[in-house]
Symmetry: C2
Subunit: 295 residues, 2 copies
């Protein structure tokens, strides 16, 4: 029997509560870690160690259904922060949140050269000059920092690990939070367009390859612990997060074998990406040309 | 100086990792609690106790920019779950997630009688007959469970507390996660349209009152700990979450004094709500008439 019930009890202090007890409003998104390396069982109690003090925000751009992610180490005196996949249209919103939360934006990162929107990276650099743009060297795009497979991008005591996940484009990477003692648990994978929630990015442009995407996802993402949170670059159905375990069970494309996957991807019959001719040239220079013209 | 740097290190096991170690993929959203009642300081280390094992999902309906929330106690054998503010259009999506995660939906709850979309509550009841609909008695709407101020809605070992927050409508409530030893930390407030991120709901229909809304928010929501997470019923700018502390500092309406707030709300010059004549009659019976006609 389900132990779900409603009970009625007065809230004795409903209108006479003490004032908020916190002298700081900073809202870290506490993602605790395992106390030891014992196996994770989703439905079992696990012991956890002190939080990593990650502040985390997921932000949405409606026209292109793009998610931008803000991560910061709020235990560090400078509160260094990174933005993953910012969009040009929402740069002011994102920088406003950074400012209000007292963060110091260090990196503006892209998972890949996007074809459906202009990155906000270049515009951010015109507004916050110390910020460094980050993209993979394999993308062929320009940026302050060109990352290679296995690189770690640190902000305070936290870091993201860059895993190469080509296939949607030849330069796609997935940024995964670290596995060290100060890092958040569960781990978080920012998969770009490699894995979408119950889907994946198309493979018919920008050096895409369905075979390579399949191999990337299975070797670089589906080998992460099953409870790892998946935060994609887009969602079109209103999902905000998934997990590696869920996608391994329920992704309608990536659960198939390679041949079936290639067949699915070859027969999507998608229209020509409407933004590609604007977005890709701009994003090859991290949106900077576009940003400069707007600035 | 910011301790942010990039370092290059090979990922020795990048393509030869062991298979995922978890035998269960269930992805609880670990929200730990304080180990004791010491004051929360957002930027300081805090000790935490074992997680509450809350599974949490935020879901978005794009046409009305509505957030639906799924919460479940995944430590309970039945994994009982609640949905807050489901939308009729996205019921199939929501029930699919419930099914895939192996949850048992117990309550379909509304924060208020919505004017901008038809609730999914009635449709859910036709598809999952054991589910009980929940709304405040003050709303005047029909539902299986009519809650009063201070009521607690339990699912497994977790519960939500109903705080009356009228003003947008006369029957608005804010559901707040509990403050007991098994409950998530930070607390989470599902504010409906009472507090939106950097905004609030309009007060010119459905028994709305700007004075009452101001009083509700300041007495029932802004008295929660500052780190309490605010999850609104809507967002139109791509924000997904805020905190009590942030809104107390940066909400452009609710940070003003009462007179100024009333003046702002009296001069919004908003158009007549386009869905109100369809949505409100339907939502007064928890969407059930509408759902029945569709079923």
């Amino acid at each position: 029997m389900i132990r779900a019930c409603l009970w009625r009890a007065p809230l004795p202090t409903l209108r006479s509560q003490p004032p908020p007890s916190s002298s700081s409003f900073l809202p870290p998104h506490y993602l605790p870690r395992r106390r030891n390396s014992s196996r994770f069982l989703g439905s079992a109690m696990v012991s956890i160690s002190p939080s990593s003090h990650l502040l985390f925000r997921q932000l949405f751009e409606k026209d292109s259904s793009t998610y931008t992610y803000l991560l910061a180490d709020v235990t560090h005196p400078d509160k260094p922060a990174v933005l993953i996949d910012p969009v040009d249209k929402t740069v002011d919103r994102d920088l406003s949140v950074v400012r209000e939360l007292g963060l110091k934006l260090v990196y503006a990162m892209n998972t890949h050269v996007h074809a459906d929107h202009v990155t906000g990276t270049g515009l951010i650099k015109t507004k916050v000059p110390d910020v460094k743009s980050v993209i993979s060297r394999a993308s062929g795009a320009k940026a302050d920092v060109l990352i290679e497979p296995g690189d770690k991008i640190a902000f305070g005591d936290l870091f993201l690990e860059a895993r190469p996940t080509p296939g949607h484009t030849l330069g796609c990477v997935t940024y995964v939070t670290g596995d060290g003692p100060a890092q958040p648990y569960p781990r978080m994978a920012f998969t770009g367009d490699a894995v979408l929630i119950r889907g994946c990015g198309r493979t018919d442009f920008q050096g895409g390859s369905s075979e390579q995407l399949y191999e990337s996802v299975h070797s670089q993402i589906f080998t992460l612990p099953k409870e790892t949170l998946i935060y994609p670059a887009h969602d079109y159905k209103g999902f905000t997060v998934s997990t590696v375990g869920e996608e391994m069970l329920y992704n309608p494309r990536l659960t198939k074998d390679m041949d079936k996957f290639k067949d699915i991807m070859a027969n999507l019959n998608l229209p020509y990406p409407k933004m590609i001719d604007v977005a890709v040239p701009s994003n090859m220079v991290c949106g900077f040309q576009d940003a400069t013209s707007k600035a």
